[in-house]
């Protein structure tokens, strides 16, 4: 009697589990998930996750955008065979792209899809392409040029972009300087007062999505005091812009008496900021110290590593260790990954160089859990192993470097690599 009861209960539980499992599978837009590659394409992931190489050897793959049909657009840093936007399609539905086409002759970084348009940037301009019902570009050779004449003075030249829900596009214009010294990156040289760069760079500019040939005068300097932003995303919960700043370099090289090489490797923080119109993050006058949890006056502007910076500047939402170069930011809204990941932030860290002679770091994708539009826990490494080995991480000679992030219609996470042009697809396979 007892035995049959237990057996019956087991069957019931099993049946329940099966129903749950198939319901979950169905939730993935009808398709079953692709099988991960042997060894998860070299990536180290949390339990239950798998990874596969969805495309390879594309070139310098910067930001990426997925269509509702699951196709991928990839922006290349430089044209390859004359093409710098790559369109990828998975014809045989094995989860790996088998059809590759290219268009657009300008290199760049920005790539975003919103309300029937694909947005792309060169290092001076922003274009948009009309999409059809399947989110395929209708006329690859005739984009609208919506923004033109943005500064490209070689340093921090890329123009990342994102679109809000009200017809505005946000474009980063990086500062053409490390810390606004009179002589850039030169030992002991002091900061220009005030920093003249901020009138046309070192911030986020806002333009209209549907107006052609806008330039500085047509746009709004939405936020300033941001040295260089590469990763950025629109948070749908808060309906606001979040950005990842690349913090300043070379505290030790420039002020060797104030900062050791170890302090130089750790400082300043790489910061996530939530921006409103008019936000000022304080570059070049301050930097953020993630160990003291304080804004610190920059040594070029009278600081000494301890003196606090002005309260007028905004505080970061999250502060990471120095120099890891956050190049991609994505708020995850899918349901494929476990509940914990919902509305949280994935950040692709391109990896450091300015930690030398200390071992380099980064080259991984990090996750920060969010609740109600605010971080609800500590950041953790989500996907590691892009570099190839701990030695390659330490030396900085990474085989792959994470750059762009995008979420597939089924909730898969795509990560681009701009060394070899690998596109990774990360899936959650354990129900």
């Amino acid at each position: 009697m007892k035995k049959t009861y237990i057996a019956g209960l087991t069957v019931l539980i099993l049946a329940g589990a099966l129903v749950l499992m198939s319901a979950k599978k169905l939730a993935h837009s009808g398709n079953t998930l692709p099988t991960p590659d042997e060894g998860n394409a070299g990536l180290k992931l949390p339990a239950g996750f798998g990874a596969l190489v969805a495309a390879d050897t594309l070139g310098g793959a910067r930001h990426i955008a997925v269509t509702t049909a699951g196709d991928l657009y990839v922006k290349l840093a430089r044209p390859r065979n004359g093409k710098a936007i790559i369109y990828l399609h998975d014809g045989n539905k094995d989860g790996r792209f088998d059809e590759i086409n290219g268009f657009a002759n300008y290199g760049g970084t920005g790539m975003y899809i919103k309300n029937g348009f694909l947005y792309a940037s060169s290092n001076q301009e922003v274009f948009r392409y009309k999409l059809d019902a399947n989110e395929k570009v209708v006329n690859p050779d005739q984009p609208e040029k919506i923004v033109t004449g943005l500064l490209d003075r070689r340093q921090h030249e890329t123009k990342s972009l994102v679109v809000d829900n009200a017809g505005n596009i946000y474009v980063n214009v990086g500062a053409y300087s490390n810390s606004c010294q009179i002589k850039d990156r030169t030992p002991g040289s002091l900061g220009q007062q005030p920093c003249p760069i901020l009138d046309s760079a070192g911030g986020i500019w806002q333009f209209k999505v549907d107006k052609q040939n806008q330039t500085y005068g047509d746009g709004v300097r939405y936020a300033t005091g941001l040295r260089n932003v590469v990763g950025l995303d629109w948070n749908q919960q808060t309906n606001s812009l979040f950005v990842m700043q690349h913090g300043r370099d070379q505290l030790h090289d420039i002020f060797p008496d104030m900062f050791t090489t170890k302090q130089n490797a750790d400082l300043p923080a790489e910061c996530m900021y939530q921006l409103k119109q008019g936000s000022n993050a304080g570059w070049p006058y301050i930097y953020y110290d993630w160990m003291q949890n304080k804004k610190i006056q920059a040594p070029e502007y009278g600081g000494n590593g301890k003196k606090e910076g002005s309260k007028e500047y905004i505080d970061p939402v999250v502060a990471f260790p120095g120099h890891m170069a956050p190049n991609g930011l994505l708020f995850y809204t899918g349901t494929q990954f476990p509940e914990k990941y919902r509305n949280g932030a994935f950040i692709a860290f391109h990896g450091s160089w300015n930690r030398a002679p200390e071992p380099q770091a980064g080259f991984y994708v990090v996750f920060v859990p969010f609740k109600g539009g605010k971080p609800s826990g500590k950041w953790e490494v989500f996907a590691d192993g892009f570099s190839g080995s701990p030695q390659q991480t330490a030396s900085g000679r990474a085989a792959h470097r994470p750059c762009g992030l995008a979420q597939g219609p089924d909730g898969s996470l795509y990560v681009s690599d701009d060394v070899k042009g690998t596109i990774y697809r990360i899936v959650y396979n354990k129900p």
Partner: protein
Amino acid sequence: MKKVFAINLFILLLAAGGAVAQTKKAPVKKASTGAAGGASAAKPSVAKGKVVYTTYCLSCHQADGGGVPNMNPPLIKTSYVLGDKTRLINILLKGLNDEIEINGATYSNPMPAHDFLKDDDIANVLSFVRSSFGNKASPVTAAEVKKLRDAAK
């Protein structure tokens, strides 16, 4: 506990890596003292050049001279390093912020002028660079640096 162990292992590995790198570099040093054999102060010193490199160049061009992709170029067998000494010395004296191309790649950082370094520091560091990272080229002398510095005045 496991984490501590992993970190220790990592440090050990790093230390081992450093040791290997050091033993690898040793012959270079020996060769230079051999070549300089009883050198006068005016002769370029690769050993002193290495110190200058570590202080002023390593953070951008990295310990292995391999640079940083898209940002800082490598110093390994480039035409700038191995070629015309005038051009090379002038890069240090005047800096460089042009779209130079090395093996099809370009670099977006600026190279700051290092005119604050003394003539023999520049001679030493360039002699070090020209005989390290797989490079084999003649040393640069302080007199050659001085001539170009004076010419620029």
